[in-house]
């Protein structure tokens, strides 16, 4: 409740032109959105682009946020829409899979700086490998199934919320999730990732 109230305050101030409030709000949710984008795009560069698009759209739609739902849910709905558009556009791009051989083989200097914040390089490597395996597993799923898995298992939304965010019926969402689970059967990587 306190968190929600604080979000409301920050939103109100951001709408009034306060950059500091907006930055505070972004910092609160950027980790969540970035990791979400990372899992969905399988690529840090795309994840950054998508995250920026999400926050840009969030800011532009901020006046229409009525505070009836939690800000996180409202923002993640925008993120879902943006992700769907992004993945669809990327799917049409024939060069999209060209850089798939080695994910994150190239990292911009900022990303490298950010990642270097971890003190232990071995630990950092371990985390990256762990996450890479998870991303590889998820990347085997079609985009719409990946989205449902992401929203259910990583974002912990209810089926009703996922249905609302994706614009599908609850049964469709459940079927997609079940199909996704079926497709992941036998992937030893899952166990290895644990």
């Amino acid at each position: 409740m306190f968190q929600l109230h604080k979000d409301e305050k920050l939103i109100e101030k951001a709408l009034g032109g306060s950059q500091r409030s907006w930055v505070s709000l972004v910092k609160r949710y950027e980790g969540l959105v970035y990791n979400y984008c990372l899992r969905m795009t399988f690529n840090s560069s795309d994840a950054m682009d998508l995250m920026q698009e999400v926050f840009l759209a969030t800011y532009r739609n901020l006046p229409s946020y009525r505070g009836q739902n939690q800000f996180k849910g409202w923002m993640m709905r925008i993120a879902t829409n943006k992700t769907t558009d992004f993945l669809r556009a990327r799917g049409r791009n024939p060069l999209h899979r060209a850089g798939e051989v080695s994910d994150d083989s190239y990292q911009s200097p900022e990303i490298q700086v950010a990642h270097s914040h971890h003190n232990d390089p071995a630990e950092q490597y371990k985390i990256e490998q762990n996450n890479l395996q998870i991303k590889q597993i998820l990347d085997r799923l079609p985009d719409e199934q990946k989205l449902v898995v992401e929203l259910k298992f990583f974002q912990h939304f209810t089926f009703e919320e996922i249905a609302q965010q994706t614009g599908n019926s609850i049964n469709t969402v459940k079927t997609r999730l079940y199909t996704a689970l079926g497709k992941l059967k036998g992937f030893s990587e899952i166990k290895n990732a644990m």
Binding site: V23, M51, I134, V149, L184
Partner: protein
């Protein structure tokens, strides 16, 4: 034994999250225990959950959080603020000092303190009072005429009534007087007749006395002369 895979599909996540009611939970548990496919789905769901928990959040690279998002606050021109303030001040001063601008045939009069307004108000009041007075006089005159006419009519009516009544009374009085007079006259006539009768009676008696006296005289020569004298008388 046939297995209801759909039941597991529908509720496997709630089962894993331990959110199912007891009877439903038992049904799903039974399906998982008896069906390899459902068992596999359950395992997959658990593994997926573990995988999600195994995700290590990666830190967000530095980025420009306000670029393209927050518009810089619009700077208003200072002259607008000063202009607004000056206009407001001027308006307040005009109110405080009761500035008046009056356009007349002679030109434009500008005055402070509200004198113009007072004289104007006085003139208006005087004019209005004169109008009221004229109207009032007119109303008074009309009412007076009405009252006079009414009074006149009343007077005439009263006079006519009085005359009528007076005439009757006079007539009655005259009749009464006449009756009284006639009665008195009749009484007087009766008295006169009575007196004449009495007088006549007396005269007869006198004549008889005289005759007797004459006879007496005649019988007496000396007295016959006197008797002649008396007869001559």
């Amino acid at each position: 034994m046939l297995c209801d895979h759909q039941l597991v599909v529908q509720h496997i996540n709630d089962y894993v999250d331990n959110k199912l009611p007891q009877n439903m939970r038992q049904q799903v548990q039974q399906a998982i225990s008896n069906c390899d496919d459902c068992q596999s789905t359950y395992q997959q769901c658990l593994e997926m959950q573990l995988m999600a928990n195994a995700w290590q959040p990666e830190s967000t690279p530095e980025w420009h959080r306000t670029k393209f998002a927050v518009r810089p606050p619009v700077k208003q021109n200072n002259w607008l603020n000063w202009g607004s303030m000056a206009t407001s001040t001027l308006a307040i001063l005009m109110v405080v000092f009761q500035l008046e601008i009056n356009s007349t045939e002679a030109g434009i009069n500008i005055s402070f303190g509200g004198n113009q307004a007072e004289s104007k108000i006085e003139n208006m009041v005087a004019s209005q009072l004169a109008t009221y007075k004229a109207e009032q006089d007119k109303i008074f005159q009309v009412k007076l005429d009405d009252a006079l006419e009414k009074q006149d009519n009343k007077t005439k009516l009263r006079l006519a009534t009085w005359l009528e009544k007076n005439r009757d009374e006079r007539q009655q009085d005259i009749k009464f007087v006449m009756t009284g007079w006639q009665s008195q006259r009749y009484q007087d006539q009766l008295d006169a007749d009575k007196r004449f009768a009495f007088f006549a009676d007396n005269q007869i008696e006198n004549n008889q006395a005289i005759n007797q006296l004459i006879q007496t005289v005649k019988s007496n020569p000396e007295d016959s002369k006197r008797s002649n004298q008396l007869n001559n008388l």
